[in-house]
Symmetry: D2
Subunit: 351 residues, 4 copies
């Protein structure tokens, strides 16, 4: 089969980069042309990640080595893409950036985000923002098609938005009552060592952090506000648990009067009827992290507590796939005119 | 030192029983007189639990062997205590029952609870209910002192009630908006094997269950209603994560108008000012499961999301200690007129 | 692409069965015709294993439903294949059996094995033994090609034999000094619940079992004796650690006089020079379970303790792949005349 | 009760330091006078280790702050004790050093050890070596009593030596055939972050390291040689598994002709007949890490593979207790004339 599309990955040695490699080496239409990073330059990627032995032996190049590729993945932290993307955009490459650099398409919105993460609030490439699109395919498929730059969504945001958008859009809930209780596996914090992710500390730990202050909230509110057609402010609690891969978000909201469970379920089923990567489950079913781990799927489990008339959605994703590299490749497929599921029908292994 | 109080444990080989043994063998005032169970009868307890080697070598007796003790712990499932307690009450023993059998002091309330767990709704010892007390010391210390029977609280309930009671009692929140997102470690399900707690299944799993239907909700609502002086119905989601010991409950509620963060913190600090086993943390601090694991403490972390005016409490306990055996011994101390912290100042080990 | 080979799996709902499904659904030449089990009959496989959603939705049939397939996988415990294989052999199917039923090609050898595992020592299909072959491709590739029945090797045995065969065959060690210290992940014990694999028990456990008595030793000794041309008896210790997937076996043997490290390494490098699924590592390199987890590879790390003149091999496999379903499909490829690596170039995901 | 002995801990914030604190705060005869460290100076220890809340709130002092204590624990890495101990020895304090600084009582032996760990081979306090004693109580109780300085043993060494000493001393094995296959939990590497102990990397990892080169081998050989009365060189493989606390060492050696299993068991039972912290198990019993985790016990499980006439000992300890802080306090008890078990009868919690 001809692998006609070329791709380069900057930040190839982080979890997001290796996730993209794992997918792209199996993608029938893609050839990886080069891998780039700031560490481990000159090593083969399968020396850094031995599980890639026999699958990818590309030598890691400097981050600023010349790149020629149809798609350039910036699997990099905040602040890199905005500085480096222009060169590749000019050369005609399409950009997919994992960070928050291109998730907000106005300087003002970006400034708010930057303030949350303690970064300089002026965007380094303001003129590019207008041609960037928020990369959640389920909500922005058409815009992604022709975008020069896609701002891949935050992992918590994917889980939260997919778990809430149908309810918001359809108007079945009181949006002022929305609460997101979000739980992430440890890989969400990336490859960088940290005392709180040191194995002996983490193995029996569970904790909340950045309570009410997590930066992914901004994406959630922006997207849900757009869906609602009015400004929405939400309560969001980020938490970490000792699993490695997975995000599970509980979404709570008061149902509007007269909305039944059946109606709520129908809203979700309809909204995602044609989505290849979102599965809606009803209250008689059951779903957990093991159901989506290792896949690009989002599982949305619809429940209603009839005693309090509260919608309870459990939204599950693999944070490194649908929450990161999987969504990135899904976006690439859309941008390149490929079938959206190409290369993304892999599954996890059990147990 | 004279160990003047005698104690017997029925259900000694479950997690709740062994938890009581671990505490009582180090308790300066208590002698364990006999251990009882339906399985492993005739074996020494340190054969069943080798970590007890050198500490307790009592032979396990049948559940119905004669018992003579000041305190009888029913570390047994629902339905046992209500059938067996009468004998020991008559003989003058004080009873501490771990199950739901004596958590509800009217037949009507018990019937509701029994329905939730699929049990016969008629209580087998209705006449004893009036002399039973709900065993959450922080709320019922005075009644526990003289109770013939204490119904030890459910683990989720301890975490939820301690995380919410000050806010409810003080009237700083809109109680109609209360949501409890509760996460338990695996030991909460006890010693009995189950495919969903088989190591290869559970190690990367996280899931919700009995959504809106968990039986511990009844205790939570009963206690909070009493604190509020009016009926409260809450939304409660039970979840399991791959830690072994620990419960972490996020409590959400809309603050009433004009209530500041400082006021909210003060309400919690005041409420627990004299409580030896509850520690209140402010938003500038940080707390996680490792802080309470292995101790009888409850950590209550008070936060407010000012953007949505929502109180966010993170309530952490060790489910097997403050959530079970630790509370049981705390109740025993109160019933026997001992200092409440006697034998309960142990800590976990780190890491 | 034409998927011309048909396969049926008996025991489809165990870990070995689901492992085969995961591989075969991605295998370019294979169509799964039917899945069979004794439990969950009538359910779809993706109801039992939700991670298969979108990938395989076959309904599980009874174990004795009619089967028509080029290859029949018996992913079943000891004692099933020997009773059921005959029917399918007669019908022209090729058989791959996961159990010990067809690992020993004489009744006498089988009887010894059966005695070890406490089974009836008379084989139920003695006449089929002569046409069965031990399914370790690296040692029996040519015989497997035409075998009617392949007895897929035990997981510990794969790791032990591949770690020792080159040294034995080449005569560089004193075979009387061989010691195998073998460590398995928990999935080696399968899907069946057991108190010792209950999550709360296992999470910080490590233990040896069946010391000197594990049944896989017989395969190891038979194969190594054949390689040596003389009878070899080995010391073997089976152990379980709280990982889910993986086997790591330390192989120890005294080097014969004059054998250098370089010579030993060369023996291993030569032996496996053309093997697609065995990678030999030298003492300056480093390898661990994460290197092979999720792949069909065996990593053989060659070390010598020069102070004691002892060969130390660390042999790593994924127990469910190269140790079970991966080897099974490798055998199928050989039997069906396909390239040996077809469908087996998958890798694990990291982290 | 009068707590008449004073103790100071240098290196109080490492795992070895906090382990000593956990024991000493419960020790009936000891008062901790001061805690010292290079990091976190000025913080309270219960801020650094929140699980100590309510138990120890001492402020951490600089490593070089004045110390006045009967016993000074150097819970410090190699190279600290040798430079700092002299001051406290002169002042009359007794020293217990966790590192290798005082495990070898001649400059020549120390030089060999230092070379192994890549340190300067000249000891900084050679004159103190003669008054230092190797702190494995079971072998050196009498010398420890009056030692000015005790070199607390390495964790692997404790497990290996206790598992082998009786066999060596009694002459029942061929000491030239000794192999130690040693497995450690992750806490053995301490508190310092490291990519290989980052949670997402470690959770399904198992690997060997420093094969044939681990520095603890020197202690093992020195002690076993002394027990044998002749020089012994052993094969030793260090490995790490994803448990947090625990060491399990498999000891292999060929039995001398005519030595039966019963004889071997008797040798071990006799050797440890009066030892409070060593339990010998026979082949019909079973033992694992959960049996000793959280206690100061060493479990020695005696097995013989009769087919190969090989002694197989499984030696289990908690690496942070009997392997570190527990042994340290055991040594302190001996040095201070206290009952050896004082303060050391704690147990782990289960599950």
């Amino acid at each position: 089969m001809k692998r006609s599309i070329t791709a380069a990955i900057i930040g190839a040695t982080g979890y997001g980069g290796v996730g993209a490699i794992e997918i792209l080496v199996r993608h029938p239409n893609v050839t990886i042309t080069s891998l780039h990073a700031v560490a481990d330059v000159g090593k083969r990627i399968d020396e850094v990640y031995p599980h890639l032995t026999g699958v990818c032996d590309k030598v890691i190049q400097p981050a600023d080595a010349p790149i020629k590729a149809d798609v350039v993945f910036f699997a990099t932290p905040d602040g890199v893409g905005m500085k480096e993307a222009r060169t590749y955009v000019k050369a005609g490459s399409r950009i997919i950036d994992y960070s928050g650099d291109f998730r907000f398409n106005t300087p003002a919105l970006y400034a708010q985000y930057a303030a949350r993460i303690g970064k300089e609030t002026t965007h380094a490439a303001e003129d590019l923002l207008a041609s960037s699109v928020y990369g959640l395919a389920e909500l922005h498929r058409d815009e992604i098609k022709n975008a020069a730059i896609v701002g891949n969504p935050g992992c918590f945001a994917v889980s939260a938005i997919l778990g809430a958008a149908p309810a918001v859009k359809s108007g079945i809930i009181d949006t002022k009552t929305m609460i997101f209780d979000a739980k992430s596996g440890v890989s969400g914090a990336g490859k960088k060592v940290n005392p709180i992710y040191h194995y002996p500390h983490r193995y029996e730990e569970m904790n909340a952090y950045k309570i009410g202050k997590h930066q992914h909230v901004m994406e959630v509110e922006r997207e849900l506000s757009a869906a609602a057609g009015s400004d929405i402010t939400v309560t969001f609690t980020a938490q970490v648990f000792p699993v490695v891969r997975g995000i599970m978000t509980s979404v709570y909201a008061r149902l509007n009067e007269g909305v039944t469970y059946e109606k709520a379920l129908d809203v979700f089923k309809s909204f995602y009827a044609n989505e290849p990567f979102v599965t809606v489950y009803g209250e008689k079913e059951s779903v957990g992290n093991r159901s989506v781990r290792g896949s690009n799927r989002c599982a949305v489990w619809v429940n209603v507590d009839r005693r309090t008339n509260t919608l309870i959605i459990l939204s599950h994703i693999d944070n490194l796939l649908k929450g990161q590299a999987g969504s990135a490749v899904q976006n690439m497929n859309i941008m390149m005119g490929l079938p959206e599921t190409e290369g993304l029908t892999f599954i996890g292994s059990y147990p």
